[in-house]
């Protein structure tokens, strides 16, 4: 058997093994998300201070997500926002919760396929939050956190708050019995 044939056979074995492992891993991960119980879904949410999130978010935008003017905001200082949200760690928790919010919207799709619209909207919002938090991580490395926090933290928190409101509204409009659980955790 030539060296090239041995190399070919080894490459095929590795190739198929990688394909099967990747396919099984993602298939199981996907099943966990779609077939997972309601409790499992809620367990994936990390606790965040909801009142703090709401206070920061409503200082930046109204309930519909419309940006407040200088006159209408309550004028939270960056240092207050930092304290209320728990700094960069707190923002990373919000970022971590975003995929769960998307899954909560996707969960409704098993009864209402049209809820895909909301899941898609949340995916876009999650991308924005990711972008803001990424900027803040970069700023933390370069020592520009103070300036960047004022620019990026509040829009990210406001977006997260809006995401939670939309998920709640979806469950409310659908008259879904899980609404009470959801109101308790997000």
């Amino acid at each position: 058997m030539s060296a090239r044939t041995i190399l070919f056979l080894a490459a095929i074995v590795v190739f198929v093994a990688v394909l099967v492992v990747v396919a099984v891993y993602y298939h199981r991960r996907g099943r966990r998300t779609s077939d997972g119980s309601w409790e499992q879904l809620l367990e994936r949410l990390t606790f965040v201070d909801r009142d703090g999130v709401a206070q920061i978010a409503l200082d930046y935008a109204d309930e519909s997500g419309r940006r407040r003017t200088e006159d209408s905001d309550t004028g939270l200082e960056p240092s207050q926002i930092w304290k209320l949200i728990g700094g960069l760690d707190g923002l990373e928790l919000l970022e971590k919760n975003c995929p769960v919010l998307i899954d909560l919207a996707s969960y409704v799709q098993q009864w209402y396929p049209e809820a895909v619209v909301l899941a898609e909207e949340l995916r876009l919002n999650a991308r924005e939050i990711e972008w803001h938090v990424e900027r803040l991580r970069g700023a933390a490395k370069t020592g520009n956190m103070e300036l960047s926090f004022a620019n990026y933290a509040q829009p990210a928190i406001a977006k997260y708050y809006l995401m939670t409101r939309r998920v709640l509204a979806l469950y409310e409009r659908g008259n879904l019995p899980m609404l009470t659980d959801l109101q308790r955790v997000i």
């Binding site: 044939t5 070919f8 490459a11 095929i12 396919a23 993602y26 298939h27 009864w111 619209v117 008259n175």
Partner: protein, 260 residues
């Protein structure tokens, strides 16, 4: 061209399987949802008829060239089916999800490169260069298809886009078949096609048997209806419609900005 009883049995089973599947697609009105998949199945029916007639009444050279051209058409249609399934998953609102398109192109390019590398490594022992090209071409196609299906699964789970029932079933069938096909084509490359073609023929029969099982799976799954959705309340419908307009507008905006 000499055909064994088993060859004819597989030929007939493949023909009956495809015709039944086409009937299922038409009767259950899935043609509009899966036009490329329907074309792929129809092309397989025509291919079976054409190759059967040429095998009986044509020359070896005609058979070879027809087989080869139709194999290229088959590979193109399989890529079309991948696109159709990907559209169903990654364009939930009719526009490619922003963060998905680039990843999908990147994964597609990587898949082509890996499939090309595997094909380059293969050196099947054959008598004619055309046989080598055929075996390598099949290996490339099988490797590429299996990679694309696995990429689709990984990407959809990563970005959190769910699969609709019938899309899942078609993808499962074609995905499992593609991975087994890689093993069969790798074995074809290893054993080659010499004067004794028994190993090649046995492997081909195994591949066709797997494909027939896959066709049966599609027939059953596409005959069944997807779970019935609940009726939306009027308020919910209004909310989602408004949201759809907003999200659609944002996605269009993103797309037009990218085009500039």
């Amino acid at each position: 061209m000499h055909l064994t009883g088993l060859d004819l049995l597989f030929w007939a089973a493949s023909f009956v399987g495809h015709v039944t599947l086409l009937l299922v697609l038409c009767i259950r009105r899935r043609v509009r949802t899966f036009p490329l998949f329907t074309t792929f199945i129809s092309a397989n029916i025509l291919r079976t008829i054409a190759l059967y007639l040429i095998a009986h009444f044509g020359t070896k050279a005609t058979y070879f060239y027809t087989y080869w051209y139709l194999a290229i058409l088959d590979a193109c249609l399989q890529l079309g089916v991948v696109y159709e399934l990907a559209s169903g998953i990654f364009r939930p609102l009719g526009v490619w999800a922003k963060d998905v398109r680039r990843s999908f192109i990147w994964l597609g390019s990587l898949s082509v490169a890996v499939a090309a590398a595997l094909t380059w490594l293969a050196s099947p022992p054959t008598r004619l260069w055309m046989q080598s090209v055929m075996i390598k071409g099949n290996l490339f196609s099988a490797a590429l298809m299996s990679e694309l299906f696995v990429s689709m699964i990984a990407l959809s789970v990563t970005v959190g886009l769910p699969w609709r029932t019938h899309i899942t079933r078609i993808a499962q069938g074609l995905g499992v078949y593609s991975i087994i096909d890689v093993l069969v084509e790798a074995a074809h490359s290893y054993f080659g096609l010499g004067r004794d073609s028994r190993a090649y023929d046995d492997l081909s029969h195994a591949r066709i048997a797997v494909y027939l099982a896959c066709t049966m799976y599609w027939i059953i799954m596409l005959w069944r209806d997807a779970p019935q959705p609940r009726e939306l309340s009027e308020q919910m419908r209004r909310d989602l419609l408004a949201l759809q307009g907003r999200v659609g507008y944002r996605l269009q905006g993103l797309r037009s900005r990218r085009g500039q």
